[in-house]
């Protein structure tokens, strides 16, 4: 990698010293590790489907936020609160705190560490260059702590907007903590303009005993954007984590979900839909590790790739030696519209226990011409017929979004995406 790129990031990290109380040491170590290993190599197994050449070529500057007046997208449903981040910085004036603060502790990252400098060690440090850089360059994020027993019914939206930030990056970090028996629905949205910016976001969550965290992600970055985001979740006994991700935007977009099932009875579902248009690349990597017995996970991913689109799914499930009676399922199906579209699937099971039920399946295919003719032979025009089939194809992966309004909005986005395919 270009030394100038490394030097630029070292300088950025240096300038952030003192920005978040207690984190300097961690930041220094992260940038040191980054300088040593750089961005993941194209040949690194986990990164083989993600093209990081743009990241290696030049350093992305810190995004500024002064004077920008982006349009805030309408809420999809009644929200308990909406937190808006413009170019990576929390914008209090654009946010709506609702009455969430009455039931839960909600504050920006800087305030959180100012009050608890000792908690800096809880930041997930990251292992690869992208994750390390988030730790080295993080400045802002939201910390949401839901106390034991508190159920927040309406979703909490975190909206990331990138605007007028060409060649700039935003490294946000959100921390979500659910106490025993608590529940919440976090909705993350990513939007931006057509400039070549980089979103590098991490959300880390801890789901305590019997707590339920729903996590919905809508990735609608601009078409020239780079998007890398990681979710790190630890689930305790009888806790549940349910994630659904809809990926639409970005020139190169990568989403990673790392979920650790820490105690008996933990359950996780990680689902997603990626709709990949011409020249786009969507890469999803999941790693669900079952370290304890009687933990369960299920993953449903559906991708649709148009002409010269590329969608990839790498799903890894690890079952530790003593984690008996684990059930882990994984289903990946890809649709490609023609031969220039690409779909990659790499399911990976690492099982060290002997009494487990694990399954995975992966298929790649084109839209069923017989089904299209059947629909058109009943009076449905071919474009609507294809739309119906794509909606049906993706529906299974959106089914577990527990909020009806949000699920309906996501389905509408799938249909709008299909409606925009002129020739399909």
């Amino acid at each position: 990698m270009d030394d100038a790129v490394t030097r630029s990031y070292e300088k950025q990290a240096e300038s952030l010293m003192g920005a978040l109380a207690g984190t300097d040491e961690l930041r220094a170590q992260a940038i040191k590790d980054f300088a040593a290993q750089g961005f993941p190599h194209a040949k690194a197994e986990d990164w083989r489907y993600s093209d990081l050449r743009a990241l290696r070529a030049e350093a992305f500057e810190p995004a500024t936020h002064a004077g920008e007046k982006p349009e805030i997208p309408a809420a999809m449903t009644e929200c308990a609160a909406r937190f808006v981040f413009v170019n990576g910085r929390f914008s209090e004036s654009r946010s709506d705190m609702g009455d969430l603060w009455q039931a839960a502790s909600v504050r920006p990252l800087a305030n959180h560490f100012m009050a608890n400098p000792d908690r800096a060690t809880e930041l997930v440090r990251g292992r690869d260059g992208v994750g390390l850089l988030n730790t080295a360059l993080v400045k802002d994020g939201m910390v949401i702590s839901i106390p034991a027993g508190v159920e927040i019914d309406d979703p909490v939206e975190i909206i990331h907007i990138m605007t007028n930030a060409a060649d700039c990056a935003a490294h946000t970090r959100h921390i979500v903590e659910l106490g025993e028996g608590a529940s919440a629905h976090i909705v993350e949205r990513f939007i931006g303009d057509d400039l070549a910016y980089w979103t590098n976001s991490v959300l880390q969550a801890r789901v305590a005993e019997k707590a339920v965290l729903h996590h919905t992600r809508l990735q609608e970055e601009g078409m020239n954007a780079l998007h890398t985001s990681k979710t790190h979740v630890n689930v305790d006994a009888d806790g549940q984590y349910h994630a659904t991700c809809l990926s639409l935007g970005g020139k190169m977009a990568r989403f990673e979900a790392h979920v650790r099932m820490m105690v008996d009875g933990a359950n996780a579902t990680v689902d997603g839909v990626a709709l990949t248009g011409t020249g786009q690349s969507h890469d999803t990597l999941t790693h669900i590790s079952h370290s304890m017995p009687h933990t369960t996970s299920d993953q449903i991913f559906r991708t649709v790739a148009d002409t010269r689109g590329k969608s990839s799914f790498q799903g890894k499930v690890t079952v530790e030696k003593d984690a008996q009676k684990v059930e882990a399922d994984q289903s990946f199906k890809a649709l490609v519209f023609d031969r220039t579209a690409e779909a990659n699937a790499k399911p990976e099971l690492e099982i060290f226990a002997d009494d487990v039920k694990c399954s995975h399946g992966a298929t790649v295919g084109e839209l069923d011409e017989k089904a299209i003719f059947y629909l058109t032979s009943r009076g449905i025009d071919p474009k609507t017929a294809r739309q119906m089939l794509v909606e049906a194809f993706t529906a299974e992966a959106l089914e577990r979004v527990e909020n009806d309004d949000i699920r309906t909005a996501m389905t509408a986005k799938v249909n709008a995406w299909m409606a925009a395919r002129a020739s399909k």
């Binding site: 089904a371 629909l375 032979s377 009943r378 009076g379 449905i380 025009d381 119906m388 909606e391 049906a392």
Partner: protein, 245 residues
């Protein structure tokens, strides 16, 4: 209503229909009988507009309009219906959503107002009841997990909802037990009016005992070789295709 003149159709560059002519008027029911491979299904699919069937010569007119100028969905709006020999399973799309989208699409093309969800539910429940279909099946995905008979019954419900001028029914009787056959036949008979026509495509005489055609045509190797009244079907059953033709 339907005028087919000197029709030639190729599938994958192999000629299947070799100069077939047929005229069907309002108020008539025709049956085309023939062995497997005679080109019966090819004819049905060509009328419906399947795009891998190439019409190399001849014309098909429907109500005075050239059918070849119309896309399959436009043919439905014009009043055509094809009952499939092998109805297609569509996972993820419910019968109700499918039929409501279809009906409203047809109404829109005809310049009519879309039907409200309540009106539509009333209509399809009524049609399903007439054809002995469990209303619960309307909520299920199109044909997924349906038995052969249930699939054919579903075709009849779709026909009843769309109320076509001309119904082309491709082997609608195959795979049906006698009770289902009677119900399907009732559905077809209900569709026979002065202003509609039905074209039955079948292997066997069985269905024709319940739906008595006005005309019977024998199709062999891509051509209609003989036409007659309903007695021709009985003759075929008795003597076999080789002797009759």
């Amino acid at each position: 209503m339907l005028k087919i003149k000197d029709l030639h159709v190729s599938v994958a560059e192999k000629e299947i229909i070799k100069g077939l002519s047929l005229e069907i008027n309002a108020g008539e029911t025709h049956a085309i009988m023939g062995l497997n491979g005679a080109g019966k299904s090819t004819l049905a699919n060509t009328i419906a507009g399947r795009d891998d069937y190439d019409v190399t010569a001849g014309t098909i007119e429907f109500d005075g309009k050239d059918l070849m100028d119309m896309e399959p969905h436009e043919r439905v709006a014009a009043g055509l219906f094809l009952g499939f020999q092998y109805p297609v399973e569509i996972p993820g799309v419910s019968n109700l959503n499918f039929m409501r989208t279809a009906l409203n699409s047809v109404r829109k093309m005809r310049g009519e107002e879309e039907m409200s969800a309540a009106e539509f539910m009333k209509l399809i429940r009524e049609k399903a009841k007439d054809l002995g279909m469990d209303p619960e099946m309307l909520k299920r995905f199109v044909n997924v997990g349906f038995s052969g008979g249930e699939k054919k019954r579903n075709e009849m419900v779709q026909m009843a909802v769309l109320d076509p001028k001309l119904a082309v029914l491709d082997e609608t009787d195959s795979g049906l037990d006698i009770d289902a056959l009677k119900i399907v036949a009732e559905g077809i008979n209900a569709q026979r009016r002065d202003d509609t026509a039905v074209l039955l495509i079948t292997h066997y005489q069985r269905l024709l005992s319940y739906v008595q055609p006005d005309y019977v045509h024998v199709m062999i190797d891509g051509l209609i070789v003989k036409s007659g009244g309903k007695e021709l079907a009985l003759e075929l059953e008795e003597k076999g295709y080789a002797d009759v033709a």
